[in-house]
Symmetry: C2
Subunit: 209 residues, 2 copies
């Protein structure tokens, strides 16, 4: 096989055409379709055509939140690195990842909980002043803490992207969020990850409808 | 389903046990097995049991390179964020990602090529003084430029992790690397990504054999 020269700006367009074609006519209302396609684009994994679950209108709520200057709080530096911060800034938003902050490390040790748990509490503080999208790509305990903060009335998130990946407590933690009356986008099951959490944020930012 | 309380340090152990069990007795010589398991752990995608291709002894060459202070050059900030930099530093290595550097942006514009192309040239400069592992999680053009630099005798990489993900030129660029006499670890086909490139680096760092 030979490498075909494709202009960088055309690669994404062509990729999306290939994905659309291989979806064999399956389609979703926008901006869901953009989100589904971008998850497949970032993973080359067509399981994301089947596993993404959106609470009622979550995708539009997310797009509007970003346009209204929502901040994004994430549990991983990889997701923070993957989210388009310049684009988010155009709308007035910022990305926060507290996972390696000294005070987070210290508090997690003292309380015997995960650092992700503390990060969510710091995110809930930000949510007092701004709409906040929580983009979780790693830690089930982040989703557990978010559910607690919602139940106690301490947090009203704009949207939760619940995309931890893995084999222990991942499925269950996603169900905790989906059982709550909160806007969510969740890849049901074991799959997800920082790349998926970031790409869902970017898909909502790039959506032009 | 209920959340079972699992100590953070036990989650990885339990995850690896689940992965091993679901591999139904399939096994690989170490440290290949560790790399396969960690790719599955990071993606929850068992395709990595089938698509990872190692050139002869590449996994041991990679482990030794890291222990000898190899630097890692990557094409994405997400992979750079995901690689355990503290652990690498213990061996004397550093992670480099030049993709957003001003001189890279400028040179790519002037020459009409991708920024990843320029990044590989900067990586080849580092390889004059240090062993270098190239961990590519996004850009097929990075692998194309590495192949050219190898062919012209300008670069002898310690190892290439060739894990771009996607639909345009990805498969072909991986084949370019596998056609060369160079140590490589490649997820054959469309799959890969920054998370996979980073996790292969970490698996080699964490390997204790």
């Amino acid at each position: 096989m030979a490498i075909t020269v494709v202009k960088p700006e055309d690669i994404e367009k062509r990729s999306m055409e290939i994905i659309t074609s291989e979806l064999n006519g399956r389609t979703w209302p926008e901006p869901q379709f953009s989100i589904v396609k971008r998850c497949i684009h970032t993973s080359a994994d067509f399981d994301y055509a089947d596993n993404l679950k959106f609470s009622k209108d979550a995708e539009n709520i997310g797009v509007q939140a970003i346009r209204n200057g929502a901040h994004i709080v994430t549990d991983t530096k990889m997701a923070a690195a993957g989210i388009n911060k310049n684009k988010l800034k155009e709308y007035g938003g910022e990305v926060h990842c507290f996972i390696s902050d000294d005070d987070v490390v210290k508090a997690a040790k003292e309380r015997g909980c995960t650092r992700a748990t503390i990060c969510m509490e710091k995110g809930a503080e930000i949510a007092k002043d701004h709409p906040v999208i929580f983009a979780i790509g790693n830690a089930p305990t982040a989703l557990v803490r978010l559910a607690e903060l919602i139940d106690s009335g301490e947090l009203k998130p704009a949207l939760i992207i619940g995309a931890p990946v893995g084999f222990v407590n991942v499925v269950e933690s996603k169900e905790l969020i989906m059982d709550r009356d909160v806007p969510y986008i969740v890849p049901v099951g074991r799959k997800g990850g920082s790349n998926i959490a970031a790409t869902i944020c970017n898909a909502m930012m790039y959506y032009k409808g």
